[in-house]
């Protein structure tokens, strides 16, 4: 049966009608069965009633043997055509009287049987007692033809059943056609929505909800599902779009990369060409060495450097070329290089094919991907020879310098003693001669005494100059504010004489030699007080500023200044810009300052112009390592 393919509407109607029909048929069957049984019962009762009447009426006929009467009584049964036979038996069980319709006489029982009715096919027959009072006078036999009654009943029943069935079917059909909408309509709505969605791919459509039953829930669930699908669809579309865009950009990227790759390949071949040409034209040796220390590639410069051709070298251990004394350190460096360390400026010596030694400076690095050492070697033999010479002369210079210093120190020291004697004797002589000598002699004596004094100052200054290195003390933290203060106390008299003004800013504490710092500042401030134009009150400013690891200390005056083209001269020993008559001095002070600055790893500079004052700037490290250079 293709019941599952027919629409729900018709299915529902069919189910309803089928159910109704089955119920109706069952009901009709039971009703008719009941009716049938009742009919039989009624018939029996009717027959029994008729029989009883007949029997009661027959008593006299039987009692008085009146056959005519009996027949007459029995013939009353003509009014009941269904009774097809009747008979009376007397109390001797002899047939007394009979009645029959179209029935052979011998069909009647010969003798009465037990009282009571029984059905036999279409006929109902029975025996009834004929009683008068409590006395039995005989027996009545009746035979009833059920056939006609049954047929009549059956046709009537079938007619009713047919009518009922027809009406029930019609009413049932109309009702279920109306009522099935309750169920089918929401389903149609759902199905219609689903169909329109699948046809138009429009997920924004929603099924109409027609109630709150299971179909309502189904509709809700369906709509919810649609919302989900709608969302998913949107997400999917968005992702597709995104993916397309991504693919597009990836494609573009790929094209660009391909273009780049082509460009790169061109560039690479150009680079290879360039590298080959450069390598061929290079003066330096460019080579690669494998992990076993064998030359893998080398450029033609090797012929120039070591006297060997490229072919002679490739496959050879490079260490074979190294001068035996340099082999250990070369091996150490090679190990470092292969450990990933980049080595530059490594120097060693190689044996030239002609037996001479070649000084070589190396730059090398290890390529992990190619398992090769890439290196460039430069011939530094010439440079090395120059350096050797330079080193020799520097050592020579150092020695002569220190000899000179020693000499200066010793000489100054030893010169002091006779000088002191000259001075003291000259003073004594002046005291003793008094006015005994003339003015010219007096003047000569005074000049001698002054010259001795100048010499003493000169010697002291020279000593001080040489002591900067010979009497050096270790660096300790020095508070420059305190040093400046001490210097100002020492210079108090001179400051007062010149009416000078000294302004001091806030100064730091630095690592330095305190005595030398004091000397440095004393010299600079002293110069400021000394070199001023007559009639001008000296103003000196001491300030400073941090500059990274260094401190810049400035001493500014408003003195006579100098032409900057002489700036190198003022820091040189015995160099003076002014005559001794104008300003006192040995010309050593600023030389000492430079020496002190240099000993501290710093420097001294001066900015000035004639008549515009001077600014001396000393740059000193804030911290010292205390590893003093000689």
């Amino acid at each position: 049966m293709l019941l599952k393919n027919i629409p729900i509407r018709r299915k529902l109607i069919a189910i309803n009608l089928l159910t109704s029909m089955i119920v109706l048929v069952l009901m009709l069957v039971s009703v008719f069965t009941y009716e049938y049984l009742r009919l039989r019962q009624t018939t029996v009762r009717q027959l029994s009633t008729i029989g009883n009447i007949i029997a009661a009426n027959s008593t006299a006929a039987l009692a008085f043997g009146n056959h005519d009467d009996a027949e007459e009584i029995l013939s009353a049964l003509k009014g009941k055509p269904q009774i097809i036979a009747a008979a009376l038996y007397d109390n001797h069980e002899n047939l007394f009287s009979k009645y029959s319709v179209n029935l052979a006489d011998d069909s009647l029982p010969v003798a009465p049987q037990e009282d009571g009715f029984q059905f036999n096919g279409e006929s109902l027959s029975g025996f009834l007692p004929v009683m008068e009072g409590d006395k039995r006078l005989g027996t009545l036999y009746l035979k009833y033809d059920m056939g006609a009654v049954m047929r009549e009943w059956l046709s009537a029943s079938l007619g009713i059943a047919g009518a009922v069935m027809t009406i029930a079917l019609l009413v049932g059909y109309l009702l279920s056609r109306k009522l099935q909408q309750q169920i089918s309509q929401p389903i149609f709505a759902l199905a219609g929505t689903a169909k329109s969605i699948s046809e138009r791919q429009d997920f924004s459509v929603r099924a109409e909800k027609l109630g709150n039953d299971e179909l309502g829930l189904l509709t809700d669930a369906f709509n919810q599902m649609l919302t989900e699908i709608h969302k998913l669809n949107a997400t999917l579309e968005q992702r597709v779009a995104e993916r397309t865009a991504e693919l597009g950009s990836a494609n573009k990227e790929l094209k660009r990369e391909v273009t780049e790759r082509i460009g790169a390949e061109k560039a690479l071949s150009a680079a290879l060409e360039k590298e080959r040409l450069l390598s061929n034209n290079a003066i330096d040796v460019i080579c690669t060495v494998d992990a076993d220390g064998r030359f893998v590639s080398i450029n033609p410069a090797c012929k120039q450097l070591w006297g060997y051709s490229q072919e002679e070298l490739i496959g050879r251990q490079f260490i074979e070329l190294v001068v035996p004394e340099d082999v250990p350190k070369t091996n150490d460096v090679a190990a470092k290089i292969m450990a990933g360390e980049k080595v530059a400026d490594f120097e060693n010596r190689y044996r030239h094919k002609n037996g001479s030694h070649v000084y070589v400076m190396w730059t090398a690095s290890w390529s992990e991907t190619q398992q090769l050492i890439f290196s460039v070697a430069r011939d530094i033999t010439q440079r090395h020879l120059v350096e050797e010479k330079l080193k020799k002369s520097a050592v020579e210079l150092e020695r002569s310098n220190s000899e000179l210093e020693d000499f200066a120190s010793v000489a100054s020291h030893d010169l002091q003693e006779p000088l002191r004697k000259i001075q003291s004797f000259a003073d004594e002589l002046k005291m003793s001669v008094g006015n005994k000598i003339d003015a010219t002699e007096q003047d000569t004596l005074d000049r001698m005494i002054a010259a001795a004094g100048r010499m003493r100052t000169l010697i002291n200054d020279l000593l001080a100059f040489s002591r900067v290195t010979t009497m050096a003390r270790p660096f300790v933290p020095v508070d420059l504010n305190r040093i400046v203060q001490e210097v100002l106390w020492d210079l108090e008299a001179r400051t007062r004489d010149t009416m000078g003004k000294i302004e001091v800013g806030d100064l730091p504490t630095i690592d330095a030699d305190p005595m030398q710092m004091r000397q440095l500042l004393q010299n600079l401030i002293g110069n400021g007080l000394k070199f001023h134009a007559s009639g001008v009150t000296p103003i000196i400013k001491i300030s400073g500023e941090n500059g990274g690891p260094n401190y810049r200390l400035s001493v500014t005056d408003n003195g006579i200044g100098f032409d900057e083209k002489y700036v190198d001269r003022i820091f040189t020993v015995f160099q003076r810009l002014h005559g001794r008559k104008e300003y006192e001095g040995t010309g050593i002070g600023l030389a000492i300052c430079r020496k002190i600055a240099e000993r501290h790893g710093g420097e001294i500079n001066a900015r000035s112009a004639p008549g515009a004052g001077s600014t001396f700037t000393i740059t000193l490290p804030l911290k010292q390592s205390n590893e003093e250079k000689p």
């Binding site: 008593t59 006299a60 009692a63 008085f64 043997g65 009467d69 009072g133």
Partner: protein, 151 residues
């Protein structure tokens, strides 16, 4: 045969209230004059009961002897004295039965007639009513009804 009729009559007749009042009181069938049944009637009713009343047969020679009696058969021997007998019994609740000619016309209640070898009976309803007896319609069906003074 006629004896059986007498017996059967008892079943179709209703006596007035007061007669046969006791439940056990016997229903008496009397025979006036010569008994034509011999001992047959006595044999017939022996042990029989009608409505729980035992049946008893009595013989009378004169009407004056009759005391308790419910059905009285007047024998042929009394044919000449029918009128007297009936006059004597007038007003009493006794069913009078006889095969004497014109018995019913003369005021008797049931006359037995033999026709074509069959026994028939004629009933005088006025007479029966006069004696306050009710005769079952069923009995009447089987009988021929006559009036007083007619044949």
């Amino acid at each position: 045969m006629k004896a059986a009729f007498l017996y059967n009559f008892s079943q179709f007749i209703e006596w007035p209230a007061g007669v046969l009042s006791g439940s056990q009181s016997p229903l008496v069938i009397g025979v006036l004059g010569n008994d034509p049944f011999g001992g047959y009637l006595v044999e017939l009713v022996r042990g029989e009961r009608v409505n729980n009343h035992p049946l008893v047969v009595r013989h009378f020679h004169q009407a004056a002897e009759i005391r308790t009696c419910h059905i009285l058969f007047v024998s042929q021997s009394e044919a000449n004295q029918v009128d007297q007998i009936l006059a004597h019994l007038k007003g009493r609740n006794i069913l009078t039965v006889s095969d004497i000619d014109n018995f019913a016309v003369r005021g008797g209640m049931i006359r037995l007639v033999t026709e074509n070898n069959r026994i028939r009976f004629r009933i005088n309803l006025e007479a029966a009513r006069g004696a306050n007896l009710t005769i079952s319609s069923k009995l009447l069906r089987a009988a021929e009804i006559v009036g007083s003074g007619r044949n």
